[in-house]
């Protein structure tokens, strides 16, 4: 493998032939925002957050799929790119029903983190408030389509790491959705191996472990009574 010398954000760096700009930048400690990218699965260049400017190319190109080349001059953090990234995030928030306060992923959500880091202070676009369902038919996991950003990470890990091929995309445009098998309830899926990789890969709260959501959190009030009884009446058996 030949080494390539290129410039990212004014810094001269070397990278191995075949590496992507994202890999080369990460190695050099330059952070490019990503959303559909997931270490370990192939890239699709869909979220457009990692778009970079390449000198001599009129089009913006995704860092996750763009291969390094000798003498390339790449800018990852121009005013224009920052503006487009904020707009992309605003669009995502307006597209489905992202309500952080009641979300299972609140505090460890990549969409939320990106919005903070990219300075997205508010959403200027009209919320579309679509009606999406929650698939709670699976024994262990749930899927809330309201929080899905269609990054297809779950589809890719299901097909290419687990090899089960349970998850897929159906529909077009804004009506696209992640489906299980031939659009059946997840609980009825015979191909799902219950490995949970899709849940691990999800950047938002769309896929979740059962029992972890706000709505499911139960308070065991009987426990208090038991402790009081146990102390006062020395009654240790429930």
């Amino acid at each position: 493998m030949a080494a390539k010398t290129l410039t990212i954000d004014g810094r001269q760096i070397t990278a191995e032939e075949g590496e992507t700009i994202l890999q080369a930048a990460t190695e050099a400690g330059i952070k490019i925002p990503t959303l559909c990218h997931l270490e370990g699965v192939y890239d699709v260049g869909a979220c457009r957050l990692c778009l970079v400017e390449v000198k001599g190319t009129p089009k913006l190109l995704p860092a996750c799929t763009l291969k390094v080349a000798e003498g390339m001059e790449v800018s990852t953090d121009t005013e224009r790119l920052r503006k487009y990234r904020r707009m992309t995030l605003e669009m995502l928030f307006a597209e489905r029903n992202h309500v952080c306060a009641v979300c299972v992923a609140n505090g460890h959500c990549e969409l939320q983190t990106l919005a903070y880091s990219q300075g997205m202070e508010h959403v200027r676009y009209e919320y579309t408030f679509p009606k999406w369902n929650v698939d709670n038919t699976h024994r262990l996991f749930g899927m809330d389509h309201n929080r899905c950003i269609l990054c297809t990470r779950c589809v890719r890990v299901c097909w290419h790491i687990e090899g089960a091929g349970t998850k897929n995309v159906a529909g077009r445009g804004g009506k696209s959705q992640i489906i299980t098998d031939l659009n059946q309830p997840w609980g009825c899926s015979e191909s799902c191996t219950e490995c949970g990789k899709c849940v691990m890969s999800c950047p938002t709260g769309a896929l979740f472990q059962k029992g972890s959501t706000v709505g499911e959190s139960e308070r065991d009030r009987n426990k208090l009574e038991f402790i009081v009884n146990a102390r006062e009446k020395k009654q240790w058996n429930a």
Partner: protein, 544 residues
């Protein structure tokens, strides 16, 4: 099949000609107005008059003046009957014997016909698309023979470069350069794909070519395959074109039987098979990378380029992907020479372009004109202007990826660069004429809605951006928008154009941008005064 067989076939077909030829249009448009019945009755009337040995009734492809169909042309009298019904048949036949036909005729010397220059459509309306012999009689497959026997693949590519042909799918990439790239890409397996997923609203050029002259496309593909070193071809046709699919299937079968496709073509070592793949109704599958995904049997979504298909395309192999009209140009270029082709058109746009003329115009139909023909020649002289004495307001080219060219720019010559300068594109050839009654914001919303519905949903700017732009256009039309909304719309147009993954998203803002450029007042007339609402956008209305 060797050259002699081909020439014999041609001689035999020419010798079988009869004194009088009645050509009856059997393309989808005329068939929908019962040209099948017309042809049957014509044949019956010929038999009844006992003229079987003198008159041939031939089902042919598109004869271009679609608005007047069903069309029946008479040779050698050079007459063309319009709006023919099956009941008219006896009268047409009696006219051949000196009677008077009580059927309307159109003037074959009208500008609509005389201003045309046919290369792609040269055989359309003349050959019987269901008989390969009919194509061979007009020197069909001669170019393929010459290419295989007289030229090296390198010569073939060089001729294509010299001809100056550019991709007719819309973007206008130099065809020779593309062929050369695929030819030079390393790999033992290569593919040739014909993109027949024509989906622009108002466009029907490719359908007409496939229905009228399928063999020219097959011959073009075979020549291309020889040039780049491919042995397998795919024709990706949309399912909405059943007649085109049926005729292609028949054409492939006939060509295979004659040894003009398949193994050892013209008894040379060159093999080339063509299979048809039928699209399932997604507009985005006309985008080359999505099309290849679809051919592979996957969900038709585009992927980022590079790598380009010429390098890594179908099943990861170098792939040549051209549009129907591009391939249909190929046989003529090798039959008549690259210099002949390069002599037609403008400096940078060579040859002709087929347009589907539709909308508020008198003569709707199919036209083929040399590149550089001014738009007003097309719409005013050939198209006959707006019907009922109306005034043409704008011409839309390039479908949902194109723009609206206002009346004051109708002197613009039709070529890739001139249309691009006006914020439109050549596109695949849809040309929709609009008169004074058309509201341009409506037009912008229509095309935005189309893009919104047809977005594949893969990348965020196209999937969510088209929804937001559509909602803003809708808000403007409902007179609920302010100047701030218009600014937001323009900002979105810029963003979606620059950040979308494929051509669909990158060009989706074009109709809006071009109408904003030339008809901004129509937008501004619909705006409401901007009042500060305190919470800015928090008092939003819920769109259902």
């Amino acid at each position: 099949m060797i050259l002699n067989d081909l020439l014999q076939l041609k001689e035999k077909e020419l010798a079988a000609r009869k004194k009088i030829l009645l050509r009856c249009c059997m393309a989808a448009g005329c068939i929908s107005s019962n040209s099948t019945g017309v042809k049957e009755q014509l044949e019956k009337a010929v038999a009844e008059a006992g003229l079987q040995n003198e008159v041939e009734v031939r089902g042919v492809g598109c004869m271009k003046l679609c608005c007047e169909g069903p069309l029946v042309a008479v040779e050698p009298a050079n007459e063309m009957y319009v709006k023919v019904t099956p009941e008219n048949a006896p009268s047409i036949i009696s006219a051949l014997q000196g009677g008077q036909a009580n059927v309307d005729q159109t003037d074959p010397n009208a500008a609509f016909f005389t201003k045309q220059l046919s290369i792609v459509l040269a055989n359309s309306g003349i050959v019987n698309p269901e008989r390969i012999e009919s194509y061979v009689a007009l020197d069909g497959y001669l170019a393929l023979h010459e290419v295989l026997n007289e030229m090296t693949p390198k010569d073939v590519v060089e001729t294509m470069v010299k001809s100056g042909l550019r991709g007719r799918g819309g973007a206008g990439f130099p065809t020779g350069l593309k062929w050369g790239t695929v030819a030079k890409s390393p790999g033992s397996k290569k593919y040739v794909i014909c993109n027949a997923d024509e989906g622009d609203p108002g466009a029907f050029m490719d359908r007409s070519v496939l229905e009228s002259d399928p063999h020219s496309v097959l011959e073009g593909m075979a020549i291309a395959a020889y040039a780049v070193g491919a042995d397998q071809g795919y024709l990706y046709v949309r399912a909405e074109y059943p007649l085109a699919i049926a005729r292609l299937q028949l054409a492939i079968k006939q060509a295979k039987q004659m040894g003009l496709l398949g193994a050892g073509i013209f008894e040379s070592p060159f093999n080339f098979n063509v299979d048809i793949r039928i699209g399932a109704g997604a507009f985005v599958c006309g985008e080359e990378t999505a099309l290849m995904m679809s051919v592979e049997g996957k969900r038709g979504t585009p992927r980022p380029r590079p790598p380009f298909p010429a390098e890594s395309g179908l099943f990861g192999c170098p792939t040549l992907l051209n549009n129907v009209e591009t391939f249909a140009n190929v046989p003529a270029i090798y039959r008549k020479g690259a210099d002949w082709f390069a002599g037609i058109g403008t400096e940078k746009s060579k040859g002709t372009k087929v347009f589907a003329l539709a909308g508020k115009i008198k003569n709707t139909g199919l036209i083929e004109v040399p590149m550089g023909t001014p738009l007003h020649t097309i719409v005013e002289e050939m198209g006959g202007g707006a019907p009922d004495g109306g005034k043409i307001k704008a011409v839309q080219t390039g479908g949902p990826s194109g723009g609206c060219i206002p009346a004051q720019h109708l002197d613009t010559p039709v070529d890739y660069e001139s249309l691009g300068k006006l914020g439109s594109i050549m596109g695949s050839g849809g040309m929709i004429v609009m008169d004074e009654g058309t509201r341009m914001v409506d037009v912008a919303r229509f095309f935005m809605e189309f893009c919104m519905d047809e977005s594949c949903g893969k990348c965020i700017p196209c999937r969510a951006g088209t929804v937001q732009m559509h909602n803003l256009l809708d808000k403007i039309l409902k007179r609920k928008a302010t100047a701030r909304d218009l600014a937001k719309l323009e900002e979105l147009c810029d963003m979606v154009r620059n950040t979308s993954l494929c051509g669909l998203g990158q060009t989706a803002p074009n109709p809006t941008l071009s109408t904003l450029r030339f008809f901004r007042n129509e937008y501004e007339d619909l705006l409401q005064p901007d009042t500060f609402d305190g919470g800015a956008n928090h008092s939003q209305t819920v769109t259902k």
